[in-house]
Amino acid sequence: MFVLNDEERAFADSVSRYLDDHYDFGQRAAILETGPYSEEHWRAFAELGWIASVFDEHSGGFGNAAAYVGILMEQFGRRLVVEPLLSTAIICGRLVASVGGREELVDRIIDGNVQFALAHEEQGALAATVKRGNDGLTLSGSKPVVTNGAAADFLLVTATFEGELILLFISAATEGVEIEPLRGHDGHNLANVVLNSVAISQSDVIATGEQAEDTVGLALDWGTAALCVEAVGSMSALLEATRNHLKTRVQYGRPLADFQVLQHRLADMFIQLETARSIAFGALDSLAQPPARRQHLVSAAKIYVFRAANFVGKQAVQLHGGMGVSEELDVAHHFKRLTMAALQLGHERQHLFRFMGSPMADGMAQLRPDKGT
């Protein structure tokens, strides 16, 4: 599970080399000056096969997609990459590929020609609705703060239709779709999406009912596991930065690394990072497994990894002192990204309830007195 084969290792090296050359902290800041992300990098990602790699082999990928997602997202986390691989390819692209029938669109995603966003979460219960009228189906509702919403050419929208979940494929240019661009604290693009009686044709329907739930559930689990791995990459960058700072920063006549209280703090950061890594890659590995186990491990990862990220992020800022709160250092940006990522793809409470309710946790959420004995 944690051992890469030769091909994957070579891929990891090339990802690392590209980002070494093109994605240092200053270069990243320049990208955010002009746009939510760099078109040039996105094209390069396509040419280098990075986008293709997160797909299954029959959709254009190379093999074990989860391994490639792991490689890319860990490196993206280390470098704070803002290009929307997670939304467009890992969540939406894999979703589109999994339902079949849109091979040409999948090829366009892999070629780097289109951007996608999953417009699913709302404040509270799902309120977007599809209604049947005289002129056919219409979609109305609002999807607040959609990740990659400002960049997306296409949206995958969830709504209720006659009491069931429906999953729709909508072009952002469709009449009735309003997109208000926003930017997150982490520099990632977001948008408020409002849907005003958007006309829906049968070909826009990706799935309904149980199939829609399973499809969205699987896509969210892929996204969540990938986000956890990104967080692990980000935390390792913070650990490294903090270690280097402790070794070089001199106060009271000696390096900070000489103080045992700081050594132990660093050790605690490492413990959190490495245990988070175990469960994040465990979640990634579970994506190919039966739903019960997959959901159990993905929710476990989301809870644990972002608790660890909270600790590591705060400690990295604290141990960097004044420099930790400056925007000039990547430490603050990692801290912000980790904090924002924690709020996405399911809040801790949601994942906790799923974790507790899963059969693998012995249904602790529904714990009832024993009848027998």
Binding site: L239, L246, Q263, M356, L367, R368
Partner: protein, 403 residues
Amino acid sequence: MTIRQESSQSDVLDESPELIAFRQDVREFLRRQIPTDIRERVRAGAPIAKSDHIQWQKVLAKRGWLAPNWDKKYGGPGWDSTRRFVFDEEYHLACAPRANLIGLDLLGPVIIAYGTEDQKQRFLPPILSSDEWWCQGFSEPGAGSDLAALSTRAERDGDHYVISGTKLWTSYAHEADWMICLCRTSREEKKQAGISFILVPVSDPNITVSPIRTLAGVHTVNEVQLDDVRVPVSYLVGAEGQAWEITRFLLGHERLVGAGLGPSAKLVQSIRDLLRRKLREGDELAQDPSFRERLAFLELDLLVLKMTANRVLADEQVGRAPGPEVSILKVKGATLQQDLTELLMEVGGRNALVDPSSAAVDSGIALEELYLSYQYFDRRKVSIYGGASEVQRNIIARDLLRA
């Protein structure tokens, strides 16, 4: 009362059909063979008498499973580390008692790796037959986590060593026949280098074992005084000054031992059982969702620890040297056991107040509720022995800052 899922799938290992069959085989054997009274005492976290241990060990030995870490040639089952991992988990979940660890887990592998042929023949069989029990004389009044500061001396006198010094916190010395005694045989070199691994019969008249009662209210540890104890040089294991290397060998051999995965899995099971009982009795506190949330977070910690152990196993299988992950397992594993016993005690309610030694057999307190606080007090030691959690953090930090 068992509430385990019937599924024999592990939540962390990708188990082959052979491994699943192995797990079922182990589970079935343990379910049938552990004597009920012993199982119930282990389930309750109560102390187990040496005679009970011996009775059970003989059953295990007959099946060939008493010494999971030993090579097949010497009476071990010949399992790889994955099978040992599965066995350990099932063993604890089945509430089987584990004793004579020093003989089985520590001395056995050391003798097999470093012992002479005579030592193998002399010392290994009585461990397997449960005829000889071992204790470990490592710590001293001036040498706890800083083990290399130990000062017990072994002076060479012809064909003998003459040993003098004091060992402290020696578990079960009062029930042991033999002690592994770490002794200083040289003072010239760096302090780790002058330490030797010598075997000493506890029955020697020049040895005095004095009990120390711990905060759990029981006598398990001792002070062991050695006054000119003479042992033949053939009781030296390895070469003179090799003890430090031997302990490092053990660390690499048993990377998961500090994680306490089995004991923690069993504690989770105990909390679930107790919560269910309390719910049945209409206990209001047990209905509080926050209890279940606390348990969920500890179960999450256990899952993460198992995942980490799984990574460590994978590293071991590709021949990677042990690194700071062994310290991670120790720190997290110790904290988890302590947190679990704390929750167990709290779920127990007022019965947790009672010192078990004050309760008559018919006191009305069920066995499974008599040792809740006892376990809590007893587990304070796990973050202290085997390298205190602070020392583990030193080790991790040293490794990080060296690079």
